[in-house]
């Protein structure tokens, strides 16, 4: 069978994606390009979690741990913490290996568990990783505790640093826009790999396991190994996103890797529509931007009521919660569900 590649998009969509950071910088300012860069990392994470939750149907509430592992791998290999300054092309494969081994180490003993139990075990695992990040300071100071690791080397390829502006063909390329293109490259690669998997022998096996695990095993599918593969792959995507995050932000600390973050990524996947890449991308972008869109709430209150009635950050999270509830009530199958998921909902 010839794998259906993402349908050839009209040229203007492609151009739109390329020009997006310039438009955003022009209209909204540089801060929003930064937000856009972070949003791309969210997309990368959501696409990774989608392999676990959307394709293989495993509920993972500790996904952020792999992001954390990747971020700390980058931080330790490229910062004054140990005096190491590895290049990106060496760090990323290392991070991938580390994250994958964490995924296998957790998945190996636990993937036989029923769905809800798996959820709590992954949640516990996420918390365990965070506690270790917070406390691994003795006998050797590895993680530097709650202060985290600072002065991490900026993302760079050879002498090209993504933290500095450049000139390309005589045109100025701001650092944040350069980073956008780097992240975009990773996102496109992740989407491509995911898409190929979805329509492969392995993707089909995952879907069978999601639909009926016992029937799948009875047809000769090694369900445990296949689930482990989904798990490890998800971990790899998470680990890569973590490495990019550490290099982009310049510092990491345990508070970026809380359960709330795991939950947020899960929300991106479910809200957008599990199993459907377009939905997952939409969900990730929506949830990455929503808090930012709601940020100027204080200013609006000032404008309309001439004083701040409600603490803006509280109001922001409040509206966020309400949005989740309303969206799920309105479209429980997600915004852009995969065809199978939509059928599941409308036939039950």
């Amino acid at each position: 069978m010839i794998v259906p590649l993402p349908r050839f998009k009209p040229l203007w969509i492609f151009l739109g994606i390329l020009l997006l950071p310039w438009v955003i910088e022009g209209l909204l300012g540089r801060g929003w390009v930064r937000i856009l860069d972070f949003a791309l990392l969210s997309v990368l994470l959501a696409v990774g979690l989608n392999i676990v939750v959307g394709y293989a149907g495993l509920l993972d509430l500790g996904f952020i741990a792999f992001f954390g592992v990747g971020a700390y791998a980058y931080a330790l290999l490229a910062s004054p913490q140990f005096g190491l300054h590895w290049p990106l092309w060496a760090i990323l494969p290392t991070g991938v290996l580390v994250a994958a081994s964490f995924g296998v180490a957790l998945g190996w003993p636990t993937l036989g568990l029923r769905g809800d139990y798996l959820a709590i075990v992954t949640m516990g695992f996420g918390e365990i990783i965070r506690v270790f990040l917070n406390n691994l300071t003795a006998p050797v100071n590895i993680t530097n505790g709650p202060q985290g690791i600072t002065m991490i080397d900026a993302l760079h390829l050879g002498t090209w640093s993504f933290a500095r502006p450049h000139r390309v063909l005589g045109l100025p390329l701001p650092a944040l826009v350069g980073t956008y293109y780097l992240f975009l490259l990773f996102v496109l690669l992740a989407l491509f790999l995911s898409r190929r998997l979805e329509y492969s022998r392995i993707g089909r096996a995952w879907m069978a396991i999601r639909e009926d695990e016992i029937a799948a095993a009875s047809m000769g599918l090694d369900t445990r190994r296949l689930k482990l593969l989904a798990y490890a792959l998800g971990a790899v995507f998470g680990g890569v996103a973590g490495g990019l995050f550490a290099g982009f932000q310049g510092f990491v600390s345990p508070e970026s890797f809380t359960l709330q973050e795991s939950v947020m990524i899960l929300c991106m996947v479910v809200l957008g529509g599990m199993g459907n890449l377009r939905g997952v991308v939409a969900g990730a972008l929506l949830l990455a931007f929503l808090p930012e869109v709601l940020r100027p709430l204080g200013g609006w209150q000032q404008h309309w009521f001439h004083r701040v009635l409600i603490d803006p950050s509280t109001l922001r999270l409040l509206l966020f919660g309400v949005t989740l509830v309303v969206l799920m009530r309105w479209r429980p199958e997600g915004l852009l569900p995969s065809r199978a998921r939509a059928r599941e909902w409308h036939t039950s």
Partner: protein
């Protein structure tokens, strides 16, 4: 030995609170197979409401028992109302939706509850009024406060009578029937929707009690306190075998003991490499081990999957 007894007592106190909260998770899960993510936040609401009410009543010159009773009743009322609202608004409309949808609404409701509390009580820590119950007596070298006595005896009494009620009363039977097989229960004339509401009501009332206790015990309440507490209580419910009421109580008390003993001894065992700051690791690791060797939890029935 004395340290050991001290840790056991502290663990028991904490464990009783976990048990109260775990019961709420297990009641709802037993019937709906739903992880009520917002349950921990009801405990937080219980703590903050009782904190405010006790403060107000004491300010009016009410004697301590009256103030406490007032705080408890108020907290229970608030939590029960919220519990019912939660079920009606967030869970009932999604009864037949894909499995993860209610989980997302639950997370949304949890955020709504937390942020509303931040609006009402502020984002800072609120200190609980001094009840004068924390002056410890020494019993064979072990420090015990009257408050600990009240928490342990009160919650054990409450849990005991509740378990007895659910085992013995007609209403309890109807609830258990609903949990076992909702369709059959409905055919027997049991109003299953009412049973579901009842599960939320009982869970919420217990959460209110736990809220008051945990607030008084740590003498502080905060709008995010429900999260970790809820996570631990859910862990306790799974440890005991989720859906099993006695299991939730056992799991809660065990988890409390494990944590206290782990916090007390982890450092000694590992040459101070892992101190009490690893106590959460200790409890989650125990949970993972239990699930590996006895996947249905300690008291959960190991039912073969229907094929």
């Amino acid at each position: 030995m004395v340290t050991f007894l001290q840790q056991v007592l502290n663990g028991l106190t904490l464990g009783c609170i976990y048990a109260l909260v775990a019961l709420g998770y297990t009641l709802v899960y037993g019937i709906l197979e739903l992880i009520n993510f917002a349950h921990g936040d009801l405990v937080m609401i219980g703590a903050l409401v009782s904190l405010s009410l006790v403060r107000i009543l004491l300010g009016w010159g009410a004697p301590l028992p009256v103030a406490l009773a007032g705080g408890l009743v108020g907290a229970m009322g608030a939590c029960v109302l919220l519990g019912i609202a939660l079920e009606r608004l967030a869970y009932r409309p999604l009864r037949h939706a894909p499995k993860l949808a209610p989980l997302i609404t639950a997370i949304g409701m949890s955020m709504v509850l937390e942020q509303s509390s931040a609006l009402l009580w502020g984002r800072g820590y609120r200190s609980f009024p001094d009840l004068g119950l924390t002056h410890s007596l020494t019993l064979g070298g072990v420090l015990i406060s009257p408050l600990q006595g009240v928490i342990v005896l009160g919650s054990l009494g409450l849990l005991g009578s509740l378990l007895w009620l659910i085992q013995r009363s007609a209403l309890g039977r109807a609830m258990r029937a609903t949990a076992q097989n909702p369709v059959a229960a409905q055919l027997q004339g049991i109003d299953t929707e009412r049973m579901i509401t009842l599960a939320f009501v009982i869970g919420a009332a217990l959460a209110a009690v736990a809220g008051l206790m945990v607030g008084a015990y740590y003498q502080v309440a905060h709008y995010t306190m429900g999260f970790m507490l809820g996570l631990k209580a859910f862990t306790a419910a799974v440890l005991g075998g989720i859906g099993n009421l006695s299991g939730a109580v056992l799991g809660g008390i065990l988890l409390g003991l494990l944590e206290a003993l782990g916090a007390g001894y982890l450092g000694d065992w590992t040459g101070n490499l892992f101190g009490s700051n690893y106590k959460d690791v200790f409890s989650f690791a125990t949970l993972i081990l239990v699930l590996l060797f006895h996947p249905s939890g300690l008291l959960g029935r190991h039912a073969p999957e229907k094929v």
